[in-house]
């Protein structure tokens, strides 16, 4: 019952937040200007009649509030409108391009998590040792390097100099690697995934290490050792479980922001993902795409935050549901 009340409250809050975000997206983009007038500037031959017809075709002759409510209503039916540039439904565009983004982001988060647990725990067990300093130094470097810089460095070394890996795109236009499209796709994924993994790993490792250092110092871990629980089990089951809880917040944020951070990576590697779609839409003022993609990114973030809260309550009995 208590859980139900908690979930309902959180859900209501998430819905209010989503409404606010959608209004912000709509009115901010609306404030940029009327896309038809901007198109007109590029195509001088347009007559008044054509302009009026285009305005009514895209529903731009209505007052902003009406248009917002119409957009919101269609959004609830997962109808994001039609792209001005591609003349395709925005929903299917987001799905196709979004899939490409997930293809590099999800593996990067999973690999980063595995590395962070391994190195974070090792460093924490040997606090102040050389391996601890090596891990921390690398992680700090990862946190402070600008993302695009490492991307360019990777391209320079592995594509330009060594010519081992492709520098752009998600697949070869002709002659896929080894004649296999799957292998070819994986081959193209290596560099973008490597770059994303490096950045995700940095913060995750530092978090893992500091949480683990605290947990390993606590008396309940000493109590487990004193009761004869094997050291491996103490570290990798009990201490890890306790140290992992604060990581969930960051992990939730990472998953939620997956689409939001995509533009940088995808620009560096010319990856045909949601980030590239988003950046192109901004340049071309393809406002249905900008609004649809923004709404999806916000929705993802709100959902993962909600999910993180729920997981927290499920795994930590101390967190009150009040």
């Amino acid at each position: 019952m208590q859980v139900f009340v908690f979930l309902t409250r959180r859900l209501i809050f998430a819905i209010i937040l989503m409404l606010g975000v959608s209004a912000a997206i709509f009115f901010l983009i609306n404030a940029i200007g009327n896309p038809i007038e901007l198109m007109m500037a590029e195509t001088p031959g347009m007559t008044g009649e054509v302009i009026e017809r285009m305005k009514s075709y895209y529903g731009l002759d209505q007052p902003p509030l009406t248009r917002y409510l119409l957009w919101l209503g269609r959004l609830l039916h997962l109808d994001f409108g039609t792209s001005i540039v591609y003349n395709q439904p925005v929903g299917s565009l987001i799905l196709t391009w979004g899939w490409q983004t997930l293809k590099i982001q999800v593996p990067a988060i999973l690999i980063a998590l595995a590395i962070a647990i391994l190195f974070g725990v090792t460093a924490a067990r040997r606090q102040h040792s050389r391996s601890d300093f090596a891990v921390m130094g690398t992680a700090l470097l990862g946190q402070s390097l600008p993302a695009f810089f490492l991307g360019i460095l990777l391209i320079f070394v592995f594509s330009y100099t060594l010519d081992w890996l492709p520098s752009y795109g998600a697949y070869s236009t002709r002659n896929p690697l080894g004649g296999s499209p799957t292998l070819d796709a994986l081959w193209h994924m290596v560099l973008p995934v490597a770059m994303l993994t490096f950045f995700n790993t940095a913060t995750l490792t530092l978090l893992m290490r500091s949480n683990m250092v605290d947990v390993l110092k606590s008396d309940f871990i000493a109590a487990m050792r004193a009761s004869g629980i094997p050291e491996r089990r103490v570290i990798y089951v009990h201490a890890l479980r306790a140290a992992f809880i604060p990581m969930l917040t960051y992990l939730g944020l990472l998953i939620g922001l997956m689409l939001g951070t995509a533009p940088v990576t995808e620009s560096v590697f010319t990856w045909p993902g949601l980030g590239s779609l988003y950046v192109a839409a901004i340049h071309q003022l393809d406002y249905p795409v900008i609004m649809g993609a923004s709404a999806v990114i916000a929705f993802m973030l709100i959902c993962t935050t909600l999910l993180t809260d729920v997981i927290y309550v499920l795994i930590d009995p101390r967190i009150s549901l009040e």
Binding site: S218, D219, F220, A222, A223, M224, R225, A226, S227, G228, I229, P230, H238, R241, A242, I315, D316, P317, R318
Partner: protein
């Protein structure tokens, strides 16, 4: 030290037997003192947290280790349990060489040893995993040691709870739902789960309310009677020490400065530090205020230990020899041993 100046205490507890259960010989725990250079660390010295202490504990007996914070009593206790590996010295539990067993690291031997000695922690808030229910906390040692088949864990957990005076229905609660005294009872139940012979209690009541302390001390006394336990009781609270112990060992700056029967030490402390500790016990009667043998100055740094007798910098009766020569731990009258050149 007048006997009447001390709060009334129960009759001294009789030792049940004289078979040594735990014997500690020349225990040292030191930590390297590092100075970090540009590229590497340099070991510039060491901190001796525990400096060559020896004592033994008989079956069914309570030996208390007393001393100020930082005197090394907790480190000594944790070294015995190998929670921090000792630097040197030998520890024997019954017929087992503790250090050798841990360094051989053979699982059945280590488990058998761990089973015999258990630890009760100072802070019951920190020593219980906050995300585990009491049932999980108490069944984990049963699982690790395989003492009871899994089907009987629930029954064993409930029996343990009742043994320490908690209702069996509370097994599915979490530590944060209990008071400090109740949590300490859970900590004791966890230690008892493996049926140990020796319980090392590290200030088990110092983080509790005064009103609850007596309950926990009584519980410990009852359990000792029932289960024939031996206690190594670590405390800076001399009134609780007097209630619970047969013998007292006084530590100062990592050294053992006095050891002997509890009444002997309270009546005739040999070391000036012991005398100062005893005179600092608060008297619960304002009409019977007593003068205190206050010691002046601060505890010296463990990094720069005083030469000779470690206490000479604060001792009211220090002689020139005290700063030059380490006094041996000796028992001049055979009753109890202390390390002092100029005893009281």
């Amino acid at each position: 030290m007048a006997e009447t100046a001390i709060a009334p205490v129960p009759e001294p507890r009789q030792r049940t037997s004289r078979k040594p259960l735990l014997s500690v010989d020349g225990l040292v725990k030191s930590y390297p003192l590092n100075r970090r250079g540009l590229f590497r660390q340099k070991v510039t010295g060491e901190i001796r947290a525990v400096n060559d202490i020896s004592f033994s504990l008989d079956e069914g007996e309570t030996l208390s280790i007393v001393g100020e914070s930082g005197c090394g009593k907790t480190t000594a206790a944790r070294s015995i349990l190998h929670l921090v590996p000792p630097s040197s010295g030998t520890i024997r539990l019954g017929d087992t060489d503790v250090c050798a067993t841990f360094s051989r690291d053979r699982r059945p031997e280590v488990l058998a040893l761990r089973r015999q000695m258990q630890y009760v922690f100072q802070d019951p808030y920190l020593s219980l995993n906050p995300r585990w229910s009491v049932r999980q906390i108490l069944s984990e040692p049963l699982r690790v040691h395989g003492l009871v088949p899994p089907a009987q864990w629930d029954g064993a957990v409930e029996a343990l709870l009742e043994r320490v005076g908690l209702p069996a229905e509370h097994a599915d609660r979490y530590p944060h739902e209990f008071s400090g005294g109740q949590r300490q009872r859970i900590g004791i139940a966890r230690a008892l789960a493996v049926e140990p012979r020796l319980l090392i209690c590290d200030e088990p009541v110092s983080s509790l309310d005064v009103s609850v302390r007596a309950q926990i001390l009584n519980l410990l006394a009852e359990l000792q009677e029932e289960l024939k336990l031996s206690y190594l009781y670590i405390s800076h609270d001399l009134s609780s020490v007097r209630f619970l112990s047969n013998r007292i060992a006084v530590m100062y700056l990592g050294n053992l400065v006095e050891i002997g029967e509890v009444d002997e030490i309270f009546a005739r402390p040999g070391h000036h530090y012991t005398a100062a500790l005893i005179s600092a016990i608060p008297v619960p009667d304002p009409a019977r205020q007593k003068p205190r043998d206050a010691i002046s100055g601060e505890i010296p740094s463990v990094v720069k230990r005083p030469s000779g007798c470690v206490f000479h910098t604060r001792c009211p009766a220090a002689l020139p020899i005290c700063s030059r020569q380490v006094p041996p731990l000796a028992a001049p009258d055979g009753a109890h041993a202390f390390a002092c050149h100029n005893p009281r």
